[in-house]
């Protein structure tokens, strides 16, 4: 796991504290009941704060898995 993945993992862990850490890298929205629209925005805000970029909420609407989020962040930093 590289540095970007580690930091994304930290954000996921903060937003979804009830999900075991080892499950996070394979997490998708369909598998987590508490990943609703509010938690999605919270996750996006947390990522924007962690990586220092301004979040494009429309573009990030479809980031519904850990893997997609990591790809998006790699493209932004």
């Amino acid at each position: 796991m590289d540095e970007i993945e580690s930091r994304v993992l930290e954000c996921f862990s903060n937003v979804f504290p009830s999900v075991p850490r080892e499950r996070l890298p394979s997490l998708s929205q369909a598998a987590v009941a508490e990943w609703d629209s509010v938690m999605h925005v919270t996750l996006l805000a947390s990522l924007a704060e962690e990586f220092g970029f301004e979040m494009d909420y429309e573009a990030a609407e479809d980031l519904r898995s850990f893997a997609l989020v990591v790809d998006h962040v790699r493209g932004r930093v």
């Binding site: 937003v15 504290p17 805000a45 947390s46 704060e49 909420y57």
Partner: protein
């Protein structure tokens, strides 16, 4: 520096296993999103062993959310306003229109909405604490003037809002967030997130949300105000060394380039008028200090300082003597001195004392000190007892001196003392709640009472809430005790709270209170929900006089005939308050 969102989320997750100490309701018209998280995390940082539960209402319905708050169990409601709560046209999620002849309509609509909100907030405040945050964002589109020139419409709205806030500030249990205080933590230009507002309905940057939450939590759950301030004299209360230049050679005015000392004196005057105890600890000769304090141009009343401890010994000893005279603990006191060495010596000897430097050569830092003093001593309202405090401390000193070496009961019998009991549940109730929440030594169990719990006690038909006042030939102490309880079963009065101010010790007011309860509440048994605390030794002493030996946490019972046997003859008159 406020919390980051990641830190706040971590803190809230860690608090999931903690007991919930407080419940709050966030009433806003925008999407609450991160604000509840920041509120919880801010609370956590102040009360590490406890959690705050925050509920909220529906997006876009502030007035409805205030009604939902009434039905909620929350002891505190935060009402966070933005301009579009007064009229949707004053927000970016509406397309207006707000210009032209519609401005008058927007203003009229805002006025009507403010009146409706005032009524809803007043109803909420009947039973819980309400903290109101005025709009913290600007809406820069309402007007034809260039941006730097305030339009008549904008100023009309601001004027309406300020009048509305002013009226709310006088409502019991309503606290209005100071816009200036928030501005110091969160610059106006960095507060709004229009991208986020349009996408999600949450209008704030994370930094502003964090600062706002911190301010809201501080207002809802303030630290207990400090009770006394001990000040140094040379280069603190005044510029100069009075022992070297004489009473006329020390300064505190703008003309003498010593204005910061004058500002300090004026703040001390304001604090003393609000009931804060002031004292002096100075290494000097007494006669020169007296001469300087007698100057008619002093900006604080010299009589406001008691005691004045002047000696060449360690300052910590002067502080010790002052704490003894005041009969308050070090953690309720602030010391101000220009000497870091003196402050360190005092800190070493008095754990918990707040020792702050006065820096006359750095006016910015000195002004920050004055603001900090306002924060440390500030309280929501100044009560009648606050104005009595200094006189009663002086009287207590005379009392203690006269009582030394005498038969106490005989001495008390000669004081013409009167203990007044007031069972009217509304009269002076703010003072009674303050007593319960700040008294540590004579305290039945150390339990504190929230605003909403207090409102419940006052409203309950079977509850007993009695304020106790005392006066004798040394003067009036004001309301110095309160008992709270309920008739648990026929013939039994159960006390949940019983406190007595340390200023009123050694007068057997405790026994008078029990006698009054037995005589007026129709009970043969008084049950006490007692808990030993680190500081309620004086309450334990009463239990000893009553021949009760409790465990650390116990339900104790005092039978009427046992009390009359052990209490014996009591020295004062019992009086029922007029109208009670």
């Amino acid at each position: 520096m406020g919390l980051k969102l990641g830190e706040a989320l971590k803190a809230v997750a860690a608090a999931r296993s903690l007991p919930v100490a407080r419940e709050g309701f966030l009433a806003c018209g925008f999407e609450p999103l991160h604000l509840p998280v920041f509120l919880q995390a801010s609370f956590q940082s102040r009360e590490p062993g406890f959690a705050l539960r925050v509920s909220h209402g529906l997006f876009g319905d502030l007035l409805g959310n205030l009604e939902r708050a009434r039905a909620a169990a929350a002891g505190v409601v935060w009402v966070v306003l933005e301009w579009n709560d007064l009229d949707p046209r004053l927000g970016y999620r509406s397309s207006g229109p707000w210009g032209g002849e519609r401005q008058a309509d927007v203003i009229a609509s805002a006025q009507a909405r403010l009146e409706a909100l005032a009524g809803a907030i007043a109803r909420l405040a009947e039973s819980r604490l309400v903290v109101v945050a005025p709009p913290s964002l600007t809406f820069p589109l309402l007007g034809f003037t260039p941006g730097g020139q305030a339009s008549e419409a904008e100023l009309t709205l601001e004027h309406m809002l300020v009048g509305w806030l002013r009226a709310l500030a006088s409502v019991e249990r309503v606290r209005v967030l100071h816009p200036g205080k928030l501005a110091a933590q969160s610059p106006a230009a960095l507060r709004g997130d229009v991208r986020g507002e349009l996408a999600t309905g949450f209008p704030y940057t994370l930094e502003h949300a964090s600062a706002l939450a911190q301010a809201l939590v501080e207002l809802a759950f303030p630290a207990p105000p400090k009770k006394g301030l001990i000040t140094d004299l040379d280069d603190t209360l005044w510029a100069g060394i009075v022992g070297e230049v004489g009473a006329s050679g020390v300064y505190w005015s703008q003309a003498d380039k010593a204005q910061i000392h004058g500002l300090y004196q004026s703040l001390l005057r304001q604090l003393s008028e609000a009931g804060v105890l002031l004292a002096i600890a100075s290494k000097n000769e007494r006669d020169v200090v007296d001469a300087a304090m007698a100057r008619p141009d002093l900006l604080v009343d010299a009589a406001a300082f008691f005691p004045i401890a002047v000696s060449w010994g360690p300052k910590s000893e002067s502080v010790r003597a002052i704490l003894r005279a005041w009969n308050i603990a070090a953690d309720a006191v602030v010391v101000v001195d220009d000497s870091p060495m003196e402050l360190e010596e005092i800190r070493r000897e008095h754990a918990g004392i707040t020792a702050l430097p006065f820096t006359p050569k750095d006016p910015r830092a000195a002004l920050e000190l004055l603001s900090r003093l306002r924060d440390l001593f500030g309280k929501p309202a100044v009560l009648a007892e606050d104005k009595l405090r200094l006189a009663s401390i002086r009287n207590a000193a005379s009392f203690e001196q006269a009582a030394q070496g005498t038969d106490l009961d005989g001495f008390l019998a000669g004081l013409d003392g009167a203990v007044t009991f007031d069972a009217r549940k509304r009269e002076g109730s703010a003072r009674l709640l303050e007593l319960i929440n700040k008294t540590n030594q004579f305290n039945l169990n150390g339990l504190r009472v929230s605003e909403s719990e207090w409102a419940s006690w006052l409203a309950e038909p079977d509850s007993v809430v009695i304020g106790v006042a005392y006066t004798d030939r040394y003067g009036a102490l004001g309301t110095i005790a309160v008992v709270v309880g309920r008739r648990a079963e026929p013939g039994v009065l159960e006390l949940a709270h019983w406190v007595l101010s340390c200023r009123a010790f050694s007068r057997r007011i405790e026994e008078h209170t029990l006698r009054h309860l037995f005589g007026t509440q129709g009970c043969q048994t008084i049950r006490l929900r007692y808990q030993q605390t680190a500081r309620n030794q004086p309450f334990q002493e009463l239990l000893g006089r009553l021949e009760l030996v409790p465990a650390a946490c116990a339900v104790l019972q005092i039978e009427r005939d046992h009390f009359e046997r052990v209490a014996g003859r009591l020295p004062h008159r019992d009086v029922i308050a007029e109208g009670a």
